[in-house]
Every structure is written in C-alpha cells, then in structure tokens.
C-alpha cells in the first residue's frame, strides 16, 4: 500500500518577497503531487495538520484547494486539522478543530461528503477506508486497532523529538501502527516508524539550516519504506552569517534560483565578498545587519550561549544565539532592541 504524506501546507499564508504568489506555488505543487500520486498508484494522500494557516482562511481560497484535491478521484485524501496532540487546551492555532473551525463551515463541510475526501476529527478520530484504518491524534492516540483493517496509520500533529518540551517519538515504536504521519515541524525529520515531511512549500526564513519543500512517499507492505521527495523548484528562505570568505563562496555556489537569502551579519574582513554577493537580487543584506569583529571574549561568550541553549531546537538555538550576540557586540539600547525585535518577528 502506498500513501503520500504531506503536512503544514499553510494555505492562506503569505511569504516575504513572494506575497500572494505563494498560494499559486502551493496549488501548482499540490496538483503536481496528486498527478504523481495517480501515476504511482498511491491509495492515499495524508495531510497531517495545518493544511490551512488559520480557521479564518477565506472560503474562496479553501474551496479552490479542496476542489483541486477531490478532482483526483482515484486518490483518497485524509485530512487531520492542526493543533496540538496532548490536551484540549493545546488545540488552537492554524486550522485546529475548534468551535470556529474552517472544517465546520457548511460550504467547506460539504466537500467531506465526497467519496475521496475524509476528515479525522475529535468527532470521528478513527476512519476505516477500505483496508486501511486512520487514527487521528487528538489528546491520546487510540491504543486499540480497528479489527478488520489491514493497515493502521496514525496521523498526529504535535512536537515530537528529543529536545526540551518535545514528546519522545519512541513511544510509537512497538505499537500496532504501521506508520505515524506527523505534522507540525517545518523541517523533514524521521524517527523509526514516524516522520515529519516538513512544510509542503517553505515560506519562513530559517537560520540553523536550509529547509526544502516536499513530501514523503510511504510504502507499507511487508515492511515500512519512507522516501522523501524534494521539490527542486520550490522557494527556500534562509538567513546567514558570513564569517569567512569560504562562507561567501559556499553560499554563492549553493544558491538555487528560487532561494531568498538574508545576510544577518558578516565578519569585518568579508565586506568585499558580501558586496559581491549582494549583486544577486535573491541575496539581501538585512537593514539591521551587524559587523562581526574579532574578539576572543565574544568568541568565548558565543560558545557559552551555545552550551546554555543546547537543549533547544536548533532553529531556536540559532535564533537565541544570533539575538543575544548582536547585543553583546554593541551595547544595547532600547530603541535598537525594539527595532531588531520588530524585524525579527516581522512586526
């Protein structure tokens, strides 16, 4: 049995430098993915939360996407609303199944009466479609299998990993589930029988690493096979620090046509290289970029910050490091800090 696993599409979201064009890119890649699914004979597409960026996405946009999905009659799509996975209070944000859920709108709910579109919700946390049973991750994942199902797929939206505040994905190992389709993190991660496909199309700037867009092909037969498919022509967004000439050369070499890069800071001696990089219109120097001078003390402090934040998720760790270091290089003033925060959080 072959299923496609995607998550975190975030329809309704806009991306810096792309604006509303992101929606067109999302639709185009969804259509291509479904065509591929039909071609591969995939039985299902599982969307593990955050298909929509919010419960307030305009109906017109939502309907456009759902029309596109149901168009592919041979592929059945199972959608899990976004939100947390531990307790009711956590089920908020994005397209969580709340009182005002987008999935409860009459003009949206009508799509789930179609034969090839299914919704996992607290009202119906378990669905059996043909030989496959899907289990929605709400509060607790059911620990008893559907008796006459051949395949058991859990679909869960939440923070799983080894970092602070995350739930250990090892808890899925040894259960009756054949596969646990995760959603929440925008980067691809795989742990045994569970995996995050990452954001379907990236739209946020990352620091710790460059994040690709794509989906997972999951084959469940005698064993579990997970294959990651990356879109080569999807945009990528990342922030960098140019600490050496090598960094500049590497960036130039690895830059893809749809990459959007922001330089947050650069070493004093790399100024010329940075100027050269900026000739590429996809590379921009942030308004609040800082110049990094050689200072053994700062080097030491940077190391300490990394040690202190080692339990954090890498992206968060990098964010903290970048923010704190910026103000250790230059004495912080209130307006500067506020300005940096505004740019940091695009306020």
């Amino acid at each position: 049995m072959l299923l496609y696993h995607i998550a975190d599409v975030h329809i309704g979201r806009e991306a810096k430098y792309l604006g509303k064009e992101l929606f067109e890119i999302q639709k185009e890649h969804l259509e291509r993915m479904y065509l591929k699914a039909v071609e591969d004979g995939a039985s299902f597409v599982v969307i593990a939360g955050d298909l929509f960026d919010s419960n307030y996405v305009p109906s017109e946009k939502a309907r456009e996407v759902l029309e596109l999905i149901i168009k592919f009659a041979s592929v059945k799509t199972v959608i899990l609303p976004g939100g947390g996975s531990r307790h009711e209070g956590e089920i908020t944000g994005h397209d969580a199944y709340t009182e005002d859920s987008i999935y409860k709108r009459p003009d949206i709910a009508i799509y789930f009466e179609k034969e090839n579109l299914f919704l996992l919700s607290p009202v119906q946390p378990v669905l059996k479609v043909g030989e496959t049973a899907f289990y929605g991750g709400f509060f607790e994942i059911p620990d008893y299998p559907e008796e006459d199902a051949r395949y058991h797929v859990a679909v869960v939206h939440g923070a799983f990993g080894k970092n602070r505040g995350e739930k250990d994905p090892a808890l899925f190992e040894g259960t009756f589930y054949d596969y646990v389709a995760l959603g929440h993190y925008h980067s691809y991660r795989e742990f045994g029988k569970s995996a995050y496909p990452g954001a379907f199309i990236q739209f946020e700037f990352s620091r710790a690493r460059i994040l690709d867009s794509g989906f997972l092909k999951v084959r469940i037969d005698s064993g579990l096979g997970i294959e990651r498919v990356v879109f080569d022509d999807a945009p990528r967004f990342y922030k960098v620090e140019i600490l050496s000439r090598e960094d500049a050369i590497r960036l130039e070499k690895e830059l893809k046509p749809l990459d959007f890069v922001e330089i947050e800071g650069y070493a004093e001696e790399t100024e010329l290289e940075v100027r050269r990089l900026l000739k590429n219109e996809h590379i921009r120097l942030r308004e609040d970029a800082y110049v990094i001078k050689k200072d053994p003390m700062l080097h030491m402090i940077n190391r300490v910050i990394r040690e202190i934040t080692q339990d954090e998720e890498p992206e968060v760790q990098k964010e903290l490091e970048s923010f704190v270091m910026r103000f250790l290089r230059k004495k912080p003033k209130k307006p500067d800090i506020e300005g940096v925060l505004r740019r940091f959080f695009e306020l």
Partner: protein
C-alpha cells in the same frame, strides 16, 4: 605595542623641571628622595588625563602648577600626551592626531586596542615595592573587567527586556504592549464581527433551503388551483342544467298562482262598491249634527265674553274707592316732610359756622409753629461725647509727659542726636572689645591687672583693654587703637549712663516724649475746651425748641380732631336732608297722578253697564242646554263611518298587493321563460364533462351543486390566498438572497483576521522568545565569571609555564570569584612531575613567578597579545639575593618577549 620614550615634568612634586628618557629596558638607580616613585606616579597621571588632580602636586615653593609631557610610541607611531594643570588642558598629539578631550583620547586608545588604558596602567602595569598581588576588589577593576566580559551589555539587555515584559506574563505598557493590546482588541472585535457575518451567512443558507421548499410548494399549489378551477367550470354546467329543470317547475307553479290572483281581484272590486255607498249616506247625517253643535259653541263664547266685561267694570268701581283714601294719606306725609326739611336746614347752618371757626383757629397756630429736627440735637450730643473723650486723652498724655520729663531731667544737657551717636559708638566699642581679646603673661615681679593682682608666671585673658597698676606705675593697654579713641569720646557717657542699655532706655524715653508732644500738638487741648462749652449751649437751646414745638403740635392735633367730628356730623345731616327732599318729591308726584285719574272716571255710566251685562248672560244660557245630546249622536255616527272606511282600506290594500303580486309573477314568468331559453345552451356542453362527474351530480339539485361550487370557490380562494402569500414569501426570499452577495465581505474580513492572527502570533512568539533570551542571559551572567576564571587560569598557566621553563604544567584558581580578597593566594600548582602545591607551600621565588604570571594573564585579558611597559618601583627591596635573581630573570624573559621594563631601584 606601546613603548614609553620620554617624560618631562614641570613643577611636579619634587621635580621642578626634569626630563627622563626610557629605553626598552631602563633601570633608574638613584638613592631615596630622588623621586623615583614620583616618576611612576607621573606616568600614571599622564594616562589618567585629569589635570585638575595635578594642582595638589605642585612643587613646594613653586607658583606655577604642574605639567606632564609624556612621549610614547604606539604600534610604531610617535605620540605625545600632555597634561597641563596650568591651563587645565590635556592633549594627545601624534601623526595625524590631535585630540584635546579625555573622552576622545580614551576612545583613541580603545580603537588602537588599548581599552581602559588608564586603569590598566594604574592597576596592572605599575608594580610597587613587593606588591605583586593585583587588587581585584576595586570598583574600577571590576568595572572594566565586566566591560571586557560584556557583563554590562548582558545587564543592559536584561533590563530592556524587563522593561518590555511583565514579570508574570504579557507585555508592559510599552510600544509593544500597547500595540499588542491594540492588535488583540481589533482581533477580538473582528472575530466577533466575523462571527456575526458567519451567522448571517448560515441564515442565508437556511433561507436558501426555505426558498427551495417554498418554490416547490408554490408549483404544487398552482396545479391544485388549476384542477379546482376546472371542476368548478364543470359543476357550473351541471348546475345550470339542474337550474333549468328547477326553473321549469317554478314556471308552472307561477302560472297557477296568476290565475288565483285574478279571481280574487274581481271579488275585491264588488266589496268596495258596496262600502262606498254606505259611507256617503252616514257622511251627510254627520254634517247636519255638526252645524247644530257649531251654534251652541258660538253662544258659549258670547257668555264668557260678557262675564269678563262684567268683572272688569266691578273692579274699576272698587279701585275708585281705594284711590280716594290713598290721596288723603299722601297729603299728610307731604306736610311731615316739609317740616323736617326746614329743621335740617337750620342744623346744618349752625355746624358750618362752627367748622369755619375751628379752621381759622388751626391755621393761626400752624402759621406760628416751627419744627426743630431732633437729629441735630443727636449730632450735638455725639460730638460733645467725642470732645469729652479727647479732653480725657489729653489729660492722660500730659500725665505721661510729666512722668517722662521727670525721667530725663538728669540728662537734659544731652540732645537726642548726641545720645544716639554715643549709643552707636558704645556698641562699636563693646564689639571691638569682644573681638579683640588679648592675653598677658607676667614674666617677672607682680602688678595689678584689671584690678587683679598677679605674680610671676600668671596669665590673664582680657577683652580690648587692660589696666596695669604697679605702685606708682599705671598704664592702659588697648588691643585695638580705635578702642582708645572711642573710649575718649565715651568717657562722660560711661559715668552718666553706666551701661549702653541705660543709654538706650533714655533714648527711647526721649523718643516717646517727642511722639507724645507731637500728638498733643495735633489734638490741640484749648480748642477742645472752647468747643465743649459751645456744644453745651447749643444742646440746651435745641432742647427748649423741641419742647415748644411738641406742645404746638399737640394743640393742632386736638383741634383737627374736633373739626373732623363736626365734618362727620355735617355729612350725616346733609345726607338726611337729601333723603327727605327726594321722598317729598316722590309723594307729591304720586298724589298728583291719582287725582288726575280720579277726575277722568264717570261713575254713573259704570253702574248702567253692569246691569246690561247681567241681563245678556241670562238670555244665552238657555241655548246651551241641548249640547250634550247633540254630541252623543254625532259620536255614534262617526264610529260607524270609521268602521266602513277601515273595510274599504283593507280591500284597497289587498287589491294593491294582489295587483303587485300579479305584476311580479308576470315578470318572473317572463324571466323564467327567458332564462330557460338561455340555459338550453348548456345541454350542448354536457358531453365535455367527465362521465363520473355527470353520474355523481345527475340527481343533485341546483342548490346542492351551487353549494358544492361555493365550497369549491371558497377552497379555491383559500388556495389563491395561500399562493399569493407563498409567492410573496418566495419573492421576499429571492430578494433577500439577491440583495447581498452570498458570502458578503466575510472572506475579506477573514483575510484581515489572518493578518491580525499572524501579528498576534508574532507577538506571542516574541514574548516566548524574549523569556528564553532572559533565561539565557541569566545563565550567561552566572557562567561568565566562571569563564573568566577558566580564561585567566589558562593564560596564567601558559605564562607561568614559560617563566618557570616548564617546571610547572598546571595552575588552578581555587575560588568561585576573582573579585574576592586574596585573589593572588587562592592558587595551586602542579609540578611537571605531578606534585600539587598550594600557594602558601611554594618557595618565595616560585610565588614571585606565579604572581607575575597572574598579573601578565590579567593584562593580556585587556590588551590581548599586545605588549606594553611594566613600571616597577623597588620590586626587590625586601628580597634576598636569590629571590631577586629570580625576579630579574622574569623581567629579562619579559623583555625578551617584547615587554618594556622600567625599573626603579635604590640599590647600587
């Protein structure tokens, strides 16, 4: 690298003007008191850049303030720093550099990689006698150490975050806080608005469903209406045919009735003829009886008229008698009134005379009467009181003046001005004395000082003046020259007044006398006495005038009262006179009228007329006796006539009714025949009606069918009403659904909410992020001091190992903080062969090496790998030869490493 080259000192402590030049290794060997420490102090002052602090370091006996000029080479470039306490200026000159403020020079050093140079020089680069320990407890050291380790930045960042975030969650009232609140408010409002729009949208959906159901119902209803209408049409045909049958039956019965009526009409005509004949006969009999009755009625009227005339004439006769009596009474009354009027005229005349006399008397008194105003007397009395009070005050002032004059009698020879001058001099004299204290010590012999006998070795303290008496010798010593001058002027006053207080009292008395005299002059006592006498006379005169005026007033009032009484009486008599005259006039008129009427009456004619009337009445009364019989006969005849008329009326009525009925029946017959002819048409339509219907209604009457049609029509009407209501409903729903777009601006609002949601999310992420930053900063602050230690340990280890030529491989600091007492002593070392030593267990030489290493490690924290100069002031003063050798060896190595060594030493 920084190298000192030349130091020039001007008026700086011991150095009035000296120049010192430095090599990379300079040892100044000079004896004590040369000013070696001063050279080091001057270099420290040169980098401190505070000219004002040099002022206190002026060379003894010098007028000019100090100036320091220090030449040095920094990274190959020549500079001169000048600190001038004379012009209070500082400058740094060098290649392309001219700076003249402390801030700009410090900034320059920092930019060249020498931050906090003044502190580094003072606390690290200068080593004084044996003092190899670095004092890490000083505030300055801590401050610049923290700057190096960015503690200040960490604290500043923490503080800003604290200003942004609340302790227990959320933002403070800053721009973020306010913006967040605003975004949240808009978000909640918009959410509510969307909720309402969504409700509206759901309502529209429901309405659309309702529209579909109602449209379907409308179509069904229209179908039903059509069926009902067809049925009604069919029933109408069947009904018309039933009606035709019914009409034919009715026509037959109508014709029968027509015949009956005509027969009855003939009978009525015969009856009428009979009754009319009888009516005529009784009518003529009643006519005759009525003529006889008319005559009787006329006789009755005549009797009544005659009786009225008789009564009238008798009454006239009676009135004639009464009038004669009344005239006699009136004559008597007229006589009485005439005599009364005469009496009243005489009374009034007497009263008028009296009144004139009284008025004359009053006018006479009024003419001579003068009124004196009592307010004038009050004014005189008030003024009199004031004058008496003023006289009393004068007496009191004069008494006081007598006392005061007695008081100053002994001092009359002095003028007030003289006394005032003397008082001022006396005060100056006392002040001078008090401020000019002196002391006398008896060296030899004895004498009397200020009246006290003092012998050898005794001392006396005195104020201003000392009198010395010994046997024939007498002298006065004044501590100040002016004292003797003043005393000369004041001597007579001292005698007379004894004290300045007494003098001051006399001056005051003088002043009071002056004031009192001035006041007395102002009041004028003689004038007051004269005014008092005048006032007494005026008051007496006024009192007499008032008394006289009061008496006259009383007299006038009395006479006026009497006059008013006479006037009242006069009025009373005059009114009685008018009344009597009016009454007399009335009586005379009345009597004259009665006399005139009496004269006009003929009494004899009156009597004759009465007799005539009585006779005529008796004649007519005979005629009236037949009246009753006549009336009775007439009544019987009229009753018969009435009965006949009623019978005729009945017959006429019936005749009319029958004629009408006949006309109606004729009309109906015509109508029926016409209608039946018309209905014959429907027979042709019978074929079009469903057979079942014809069968069901064949035997039903026209009314039954009509009822059925009526019922169906009612039903149809209901259906049509329903249809209209439903159509309206459908149109309304369609209108409602077409009036606005189905979704409205719901999607637009949702898009805006998405933006706000993103903003809120950004704020919330920011808050979480800042709290994490705070946690990081908190831990970072704690970790940094540990990191200093690790760093200092590392650097110390490297330097110590090099200085000891690898005899020691490890050094460690044993305390949690470098900012504590005994920083230099909390160390342990490990020798190359693995043996651990505490600081206290090390040999003096090794201790020196370790302390040097620690100092150099600290210097390298600030200057990095840059080399500088070390200024050592007698470092080996208390060392034995061996230890000095080690010390010198360290310095040699440092020199070889590129350090500039400047050594001050007293030893040869």
């Amino acid at each position: 690298m920084i190298r000192l080259k030349r130091l020039e000192l001007l008026n700086y402590k011991i150095h009035r003007h000296n120049v010192f030049e430095f090599e990379n290794f300079t040892e100044i060997k000079k004896p004590n008191e040369f000013g070696k420490s001063t050279i080091i102090e001057a270099i420290s002052d040169a980098f401190a850049l505070t000219p004002e602090k040099l002022v206190g370091k002026k060379t003894k006996g010098s007028v000019e303030n100090p100036v320091i000029l220090l030449d040095f080479v920094l990274d190959g470039k020549q500079y001169r720093v000048s600190v001038n306490a004379q012009s209070k200026s500082i400058t740094l000159k060098g290649e392309g550099v001219y700076l003249d403020t402390k801030e700009s020079i410090s900034k320059f050093f920092k930019s060249q990689g020498y931050p906090f140079l003044s502190y580094v020089v003072r606390d690290l680069l200068i080593l004084r006698e044996r003092d190899l320990y670095v004092d890490t407890r000083s505030r300055d050291f801590r401050k610049f150490t923290e700057d190096i380790f960015k503690v200040e930045n960490i604290n500043a960042l923490k503080s800003v975050i604290d200003k942004i975030l609340k302790e227990k969650g959320g933002f403070r009232d800053t721009s973020f806080g306010r913006e967040y609140v605003e975004v949240k408010r808009e978000y909640l409002e918009l959410k509510e608005e969307i909720g309402a729009l969504y409700e509206e949208y759901l309502k529209k959906l429901a309405k659309r469903k309702e529209l579909n159901v109602k449209s379907r119902k409308l179509t069904e209803l229209e179908e039903e209406i059509k069926i009902a209408r067809d049925r009604i049409e069919d029933l109408k045909i069947l009904g018309n045919l039933a009606k035709k049958g019914m009409l034919e039956m009715q026509l037959k019965s109508l014709k029968n009735r027509q015949k009956e009526i005509e027969k009855r009409l003939v009978e009525i005509a015969a009856g009428l003829e009979k009754y009319r004949k009888k009516e005529k006969e009784i009518g003529s009999r009643i006519e005759k009886k009525k003529e006889a009755l008319e005559k009787v009625r006329q006789a009755e009227e005549k009797v009544l008229e005659l009786e009225r005339l008789l009564k009238e004439t008798e009454n006239k006769q009676k009135k004639l008698r009464h009038t004669r009596t009344k005239i006699s009474l009136l004559n008597k009354e007229i006589d009485r009134l005439n005599s009364q009027i005469k009496k009243l005229d005489s009374e009034i005349g007497a009263l008028v005379e009296n009144k004139i006399r009284l008025q004359q008397e009053i006018n006479k008194i009024k003419k001579s009467h003068v009124e004196f105003p009592e307010s004038i007397l009050a004014e005189f009395e008030k003024r009199y009181k004031d004058v008496v009070a003023s006289i009393r005050e004068v007496e009191s002032i004069e008494n006081r003046l007598a006392v005061l004059r007695e008081k100053i009698a002994p001092y009359e020879s002095y003028s007030l001005e003289e006394l005032k001058r003397a008082y001022e001099n006396w005060k100056t004299y006392n002040r001078l004395r008090h401020n000019a204290k002196g002391m006398l010590k008896v060296e030899r012999g004895e004498a009397e000082f200020n009246g006290i006998k003092l012998g050898e070795g005794k001392t006396i303290e005195f104020e201003g003046k000392l009198e010395i008496n010994h046997k024939e010798f007498s002298a006065v010593v004044y501590t100040v020259f002016e004292l003797s001058e003043l005393e000369r002027h004041l001597l007579s006053y001292f005698k007379v007044f004894k004290s300045p207080e007494k003098l001051s009292e006399v001056i005051k008395t003088y002043k009071e006398i002056g004031e009192k005299e001035e006041k007395l002059q102002f009041i004028g006592p003689m004038k007051l006495l004269k005014e008092k006498k005048e006032l007494e006379e005026k008051i007496n005169r006024a009192k007499e005038e008032i008394k006289k005026s009061r008496h006259e007033k009383e007299q006038i009032e009395k006479l006026e009262k009497k006059l008013r009484e006479i006037e009242d009486e006069l009025k009373k008599y005059e009114s009685q006179l008018v009344e009597s005259r009016t009454s007399l006039e009335v009586k005379v008129t009345e009597r004259d009228m009665l006399v005139k009427w009496l004269n006009e009456i003929d009494e004899v004619a009156l009597e004759a007329r009465i007799v005539e009337y009585k006779r005529e009445i008796e004649e007519l009364k005979d005629l009236l006796k037949n009246k009753k019989t006549l009336i009775k006969e007439c009544k019987t005849l009229e009753e018969d006539l009435q009965r006949i008329k009623e019978s005729i009326s009945h017959l006429l009525k019936e005749e009319g009714a029958r004629a009408l009925e006949r006309r109606e029946i004729e009309g109906k017959i015509e109508e029926h025949e016409k209608e039946i002819n018309g209905l014959k048409e429907y027979e042709k339509l019978l074929d079009g009606i469903p057979f079942g219907l014809v069968r069901d209604y064949m035997n039903k009457s026209y009314e039954e069918i009509q009822n059925e049609i009526e019922y169906l029509n009612k039903k149809l009407e209901d259906m049509i009403q329903k249809k209209i209501a439903l159509s309206e409903e459908v149109a309304r729903l369609k209108g409602y659904l077409e009036s606005t777009s189905f979704l409205g601006n719901l999607d637009e609002k949702r898009s805006r909410l998405l933006e706000l949601e993103r903003k809120m999310d950004a704020f919330e992420r920011m808050e979480r992020f800042l709290r994490k930053v705070k946690r990081v900063l908190w831990q970072l602050g704690e970790r940094i001091e540990r990191e200093y230690i690790v760093e200092i340990e590392k650097r110390t280890r490297e330097i110590f190992s090099r200085i000891t030529e690898n005899r020691y491989k490890w050094t460690g600091f044993n305390s949690g903080s470098i900012f504590t007492d005994g920083f230099g002593k909390n160390w342990s070392v490990e020798s190359h062969d693995g043996i651990n030593f505490e600081f206290k267990d090390l040999s003096d030489g090794t201790k020196t090496q370790l302390l040097f290493s620690i100092r150099l490690a600290l210097i390298s924290l600030f200057l990095g790998n840059k080399k500088a100069f070390l200024l050592l002031d007698e470092p080996f003063a208390y060392y034995d030869k061996n230890r000095e050798k080690i010390g010198r060896e360290i310095l040699r190595k440092l020199y070889e490493d590129g350090w500039q060594i400047i050594l001050m030493s007293a030893r040869a």
